[in-house]
Amino acid sequence: MSDTDHTSDFEPAAPNPDENHEPTQVFGEAEEFDLRPGADSCYKCSSCDTSCPVAEVDDDFPGPKFQGPEQWRLTQTDEDYEVDESVMSCSNCMRCDDACPSGVPLSQMHNTTRGRYVDEQMSKLSVEYWRNRILANYRTSAALASKVPRLASFAMNFGPARWAMEKTLGVTSERDFPEFATETFTDWWQARGGAQVQSADKRVAYFHGCYAEYNTPEVAKALVRLFEHFGYQVAVPEQGCSGTPMFANGMLDDACRDAETNVASLSALVEEGYDAVCSCTSCSMSLRQEYPELFDFEGTAEVAAHTYEAVEYLRIHEDLAGAVAEADVDGELAEEFAYHAPCHARNQGLDRQAVELFRELDGVDIEDVGDSCSGISGTYGWKEEKYDYSMEIGEEMFEHMESAEGETGMTECPTCAMQMEHGTGYEVRHPLELLEAALVE
């Protein structure tokens, strides 16, 4: 290439003499939830597309850049625009948010566009709609099942019933439904008489979500004992689902219903000096990021600013690293762990927390099994037509788990744990269980 001398007649006009004229503000005052500035920030570098686990395996998925800013623009310019149904193939892992160097609110666009698709274009009589609705409202089924936990655990995994569910509803029969606990966390909480520690200035409200309530109360109990060990008064407020599976399925009305309950009870406690803590990284993600992006109940922003993931909270407010460095673990949890960071932990800056904390802990070893997505993404991997993609996405994680020293998995996310167990047969534990074993007598 020769470097010719560029000449130009371009002479920029003199600055506008009217000091009050600001030519950059041509769209007037932004309304609430106006995604336009976000869409305008996209300069199409396609970093989001390279971060998308679905686009890597599914040839029918056009990727986050289209699903986000491009499709959002189309919905703005044409009242009759029909949302492309591929938005339902987004697994809501939100990795694109972390990849974007320009602050485009990709997952917020996906959530609003998906909600619009379900509202306006999806048949409410279709099997797919009801299948998604049932999956999204896991809490409702779990609450029923937990009344008869042993029967439910058996019936849900009874071969012929699973075959029928796949054929009629499109729920894959490849996976085992999680076992229901014989005693829910809140039953245990009430039986023990609630909080055992009182404190005027150290107070946390535990948002346990659905899974720790009905399926893994041992995680919830570990959180309670751990926080009481550090002198916190724990409250367990009235709560519904965080909404994560509902956002992913475009069921915004269902999400809104539960969000209203959650924001109301948590904001009341925030006013009393409580901070909210979660044991599930998707729950904390939802309260922190998706609520302010999608809802405007009184107190939404305050709840977001006062919500933490449980281990993160102790890292900030206590010398957790120092306590762990002095502790050791023996017995059942003296293991080598293969740790997988959930996608939703990444955007909150929590993907390295467990490995960095536990590498100082005597009696255990922990190895990060890489930065890939587990592939299940909540309800995504439960759908019969997505199952193969889900396993293809998870392949990298399975391989890393197999090559890791340990044969016990660890993660904060309930559905990642299902996928880890499903792909490798490993038992999977939560960091809170290990912290309890290390620090609580």
Binding site: M1, D3, H6, T7, S8, F10, E11, P12, P15, E22, T24, C45, S46, S47, D49, T50, S51, C52, A55, E56, V57, D59, D60, P62, G63, F66, D98, A99, C100, P101, R288, Q289, P292, A301, E302, A304, A305, H306, T307, Y308, R315, I316, H317, E318, D319, R346, N347, Q348, G349, L350, D351, R352, E356, D368, E395, E396
Partner: protein, 437 residues
């Protein structure tokens, strides 16, 4: 209560990464804070030290590329970041780079290599991925460039003509083939890479099934002619590009190379993987996902002089990270480490001084390819890489800056982006660890 470390690095790109690595290897307890994934996905993956002399430098001879970047560094302007680090500092940092990124080539010489790009230009660069090695433009073996019908970022016939016009010492042809399998019209580069990584079975046009690498080699074979090497767009695998290349080479019987592409770039993403693996091995703590928005000076709001902590904003909650030494490596205009509006130019975290004309019409040149002042906007530093205020005094005793947040150089014009980031990052991190001890 703040989360405490000895050294906090703000920014997770090349500069932040090499700063954290040097500080950790210097014995410090290091934490790296990064708002987002690094912008390496937008980097070609070529690592330049100095490709062209800046306008007005003593070495600015015929406007051609720099032959030996190390020989050119002493002639750079005083405010160029390389002058703070010095030739030995650049060499030391590049030695660390070579150890961290062992799939890179070019360390055998001080001289720049010449690499073909996806636009058909020839670029001087100091280090290049092993996957690009068979493509160097100084090699006289005849080449075939292969593009894929649906991967519109690389037009092989067009690039071939461009290269010939650039005067390369070999014959070069371009061919466009259909990538095997029924990929979508807008398939992502990661989709191509994954199919090749997995060597997955794909549908061939005759309706059969064939492994992806074999099927691709078969599609290329008919175009091979007398070519002694074959260049593909840089999508030959993400996890194991070496194995993909070997398969293609054994099927085609000639060396295979990747042509660096524009964003999104797999070689850039692979470099990110190598860098972060090294950080992990060095025991660096890392936290990505929330922006650093503010800092707390030592001894309350009035006492300037030292930084006590920086705060990340997490959906309205401010979380402080305290340290003894800090490195600012937030990037330039792309990485958002330098911000501007119609009123002025600023460094948003510490509000460090960024020299710029008061009249914004003096920030740019009227000629699109002219010498734009904005390209050199950034913080000025002393010889220890500490940002300087308007009076020329250090802004803080324990803050150093590295990478494209620095002013005084136009990395796009002089092709020095990666080198400045690696060299200043390494120097800032090593100095921070030294100061802790």
């Amino acid at each position: 209560m703040a989360i405490e470390s000895e050294v906090v690095v703000v920014g997770g790109g090349l500069a932040g990464g090499f700063a954290a690595l040097a500080a950790a290897r210097g014995g410090a307890d290091v934490r790296l804070l990064s708002y987002k994934q690094s912008t390496l996905a937008q980097a070609s993956g070529l690592v330049d030290v100095l490709g062209y002399p800046p306008d007005g430098a003593a070495s600015d001879g015929d406007g051609g590329p720099v032959v030996d970047p190390y020989a050119a560094i002493p002639d750079l302007p005083d405010d160029h970041p390389y002058r703070a680090v010095g030739v030995d500092g650049v060499r030391e940092a590049m030695a660390v780079f070579d150890e961290v990124a062992d799939r890179y080539r070019g360390a055998h010489t001080d001289r720049n290599a010449l690499l073909p790009t996806h636009g058909g230009t020839v670029k001087p660069t100091a280090r290049y991925p092993a996957g690009a090695a068979a493509g160097v433009a100084s090699d006289d073996r005849d080449a075939l460039l292969v593009g894929f019908e649906r991967l519109v970022d690389f037009d092989a016939p067009h690039a071939a003509v461009h290269l010939e016009n650039a005067g390369v010492p070999f014959e070069v042809e371009g061919a466009t083939v259909a990538f095997p399998g029924d990929l979508a019209a807008d398939a992502k580069v990661t989709r191509y890479a994954k199919l090749l990584d997995e060597d997955a079975p794909v549908e061939t046009r005759s309706g059969g099934q064939r492994r992806a690498r074999d099927a691709l080699a078969a599609a290329v074979e008919t175009h091979l002619g007398g070519a002694e090497r074959v260049g593909f767009p840089a999508v030959l695998g993400d996890d194991d590009p070496g194995a993909v290349r070997e398969s293609l080479e054994s099927a085609l019987g000639v060396p295979v190379f990747e042509v660096p592409m524009g964003p999104p770039s797999l070689p850039g993403l692979r470099l990110e993987d190598d860098l972060y693996a090294a950080l992990d091995a060095a025991g660096v703590s890392m936290e990505t996902g929330n922006p650093v928005v503010d800092y707390e000076p030592d001894g309350g709001a009035d006492a300037a002089g030292r930084v006590a902590s920086v705060s990340i904003d997490r959906n309205g909650a401010k979380i402080p990270f305290a340290a003894d030494q800090f490195v600012l490596a937030t990037g330039g205009l792309v990485g958002k480490g330098v911000g501007s509006d119609r009123e002025g130019v600023e460094e948003p975290v510490f509000d460090c001084h960024v020299p710029h004309a008061a009249d914004r019409y003096e920030w740019f040149d009227t000629d699109a390819f002219g010498d734009h002042p904005f390209a050199r906007f950034g913080v000025p530093t002393d010889g220890d890489l500490r940002p300087l205020d308007a009076d020329g005094d250090p802004e803080f005793g324990n803050l150093r800056a590295a990478g494209s947040v620095l002013g005084g150089y136009d990395f796009a014009a002089e092709k020095s982006g990666s080198g400045v980031s690696i060299a200043t990052g390494h120097a800032a991190g090593a100095a921070a660890a030294e100061a802790v001890r």
